[in-house]
């Protein structure tokens, strides 16, 4: 599953509307609590564990992808 799909799922967005620029400033529902939910979902989807520093910078889809790549995660279309 692509990170865009996870983000779309957590915030209830159409998949096609999610891009690298989608961030906690463009999505109203992306507040601090839903950020926690997103982190939990990403960890469950890819079987990884993020550090506290990583969770702090993962505030847009582009950053999420960069962090995932450092964990060696591969997804379709990556």
């Amino acid at each position: 599953m692509a990170p865009e799909s996870v983000v779309a799922r957590v915030f209830g967005l159409p998949r096609a509307s999610v891009s690298d620029a989608t961030s906690n400033t463009t999505v109203i529902a992306w507040d601090s609590l839903n950020h926690v939910t997103l982190v939990l979902e990403l960890e469950a989807a890819y079987g990884v564990s993020f550090s506290a520093d990583e969770t702090l910078i993962m505030t847009d889809v582009g950053a999420i992808k960069r962090v995932l790549r450092t964990h060696g995660v591969v997804w379709d279309g990556a």
Binding site: R9, F11, G12, L33, T37, V39, L40
Partner: protein, 746 residues
Amino acid sequence: MTEPPALDELTARVAEAVRHSGPEAPALLALTLLDPAAAAGWLLDRGANGPAAASPAQLTRVVASLAEAGAGSPGLLSRDQILKLLTHYGHLLSEEHARDLATGVGGGEHDPGLDEALRAALERAPAAPGLLRPAAEMAIATGDEARAHDLLTRLARSDPRLATVQFVYAQRRRLAATADPAVRIALLSSFTIDPLVPYLDLECRSLRLEPEVYLAPFNTWEREMLGQGSALKCFEPHVAFLSVAADDLLPGLAGPTSAGQVEAAGVEAVERLLAAAATFASWSSALLVVHGLHTAFRDPLGPVAGRDGPGRGEVMARLNARLAEGLRTLPRAYLLDLPDVLARRRHGTIDNPKMRHLARMRLSEHVLEDVARACVHFIAPLAGRTRKCVVLDLDNTLWGGIVGEDGPHGIRLGDTSPGSEYREFQRYLLSLTQRGILLAVNSKNNEADALEVIRSHEAMALREESFSAMRINWENKPSNMLSLADELSLGLDAFVFVDDSDKERALMRQALPQVLTPEMPRDPALYRETLERLPELQALTVTDEDRSRTRQYVERRRREMLRVSTQSVEEYLGSLGIVAEMARVSDRTLARVHQLFQRTNQFNLTGRRYELGALAVRADEVDWRIYTTQVSDRFGDHGLVATALVHVTPESWVIENLVMSCRVIGYGVENALLARLGADAREARARWLVGEFIATPKNAPARDFYQRNAFVRDPEDGDPERWRRDLARDAPTSPPWIAVKSANGT
């Protein structure tokens, strides 16, 4: 060596193979990978049947490949093809594929074609999250709110992960409030308890309640509970949950603190909780539920903990016992045994250290569903959402096998498996009768076969006297249910129907939706747990009446037999030797009075419900009186079965409400109670006895009560109707067959 064929040629060959051999699934799968559009064309032209020789697993792979290709390159599949794929194969799609396809159709928010496709797919896969999500969004967009709520609830139930339940909660906020009764829930906590709210919302809505949740600002619980000017006070909760973590109260738990130090600090912390609880109880009539204490940290002494003195585990248990003891002295205060709920969680860990640090969450996302369910076990009885009778199938429900085929000795029931599962379930059901839940049988069987097992199988935990009524015959089960409702004088919404058969459950749900028919697991080892988790079978009080209710119904059956053998109704009633004992409410009877007002539907003159706290206040006020009536006859004790709340003024006594349990309808007990009110009012020199009546969907049996007792309706009343009777000459009389006694100095 020959060259491998070029891709184009290979594709052509495979396409040819599919065209000729048709239903050969491997060829179709190959074509799907080589030329998805051609494969889709072939498959979808064949409608819902697909390649006959394909196994479900092969077909699922084909459909997944198509969905993948369709979602990956927009335009590859036509809109018509996507809709067909959803309609015929939507039930085989993964969540992600179904959602991507549905959102990629591009028909805008309201798309009748997509709606139809989703409905068709959901018929075959009613719990598929990937279909439920777009279907719910469409229902919201088209304003079909009832369907939206239903789909959202199903979505959250089929995928109870935090992200989905939060999504469901967010979507519901776009809908208008339902017509279901509101319940106001306050959450007070020392940590981030926000993620519990979507789960609580889900549980309440499953009970047809409209929840309104007040989340106190982070760690303000102590200030809020003091009351004065607090937002909590303005909110006027029906129920407040106080969830303070031991690790917040006792920061020493994270460090090297000894068990002795923990205990000393813990005793102080418990006092703090109890003081806040007592203050809260003094100004609020809400139910207060305090979460028990647990810690995320192990005893640092490891194996040696508890060897030289009490370890932390012991100390925590003692602190919780102390908390429970303190709460017992407060009105309307309960302990939620959180350590027990967490120990019995269904999956995952209790504590998620990352979330503890990142978000100050002290309950991991895995346990939120269990904790919410434990909370709603308090809300269901508070909101009157409880059921009174569990109606049970026999074969493969109370025992394994079919008695008509396997014989009374061939069924599986005993102390070893298979069979011990059923015995354990029966034992649980027996324990339900101890707190007032009735049991009944609704089974398709030869009565003689089934009764032989019930009467003489040595491993039966339930016997004939455990059941208040039985229908063992070849009638359809909904008709039997109606006749059980009639015999037990209960409304259909008082029943839970337990049957292992999908078909019988579906039939009951369709024919009698008022009956609660829970999904039962296939494995009988899980029967017990399934019923244990039902909020509708929980209670907040257990009265003496509850403990003896089953016996009372069995006695009633014997009375019925006498009625059949005597001639006139008066003669029959006279032969019963009915004694009615009237009293004013006392501390001992208040809980039962509250329960009667809360649970009585048929003989209920106004349908008004009262909170326990409100009744306690009324009981002490001079211008209010609460009467109780205890009834017995020669077959046994009916218990406290009637009560009246009366507003006393010098001129008139106004009956705010009078309710009587349906167990004694037809005995004239309500007239005896009315006669007593009239007599007391006359003695107090009141001129009028006034009664109010509000019609409800269920109180037809009480409709003519005042009229029959020579009350006259006030000409310009509205709702409620007001009826009055002049006491200047005489008062209502008590039926001659009832011997009336007085208790506690009235």
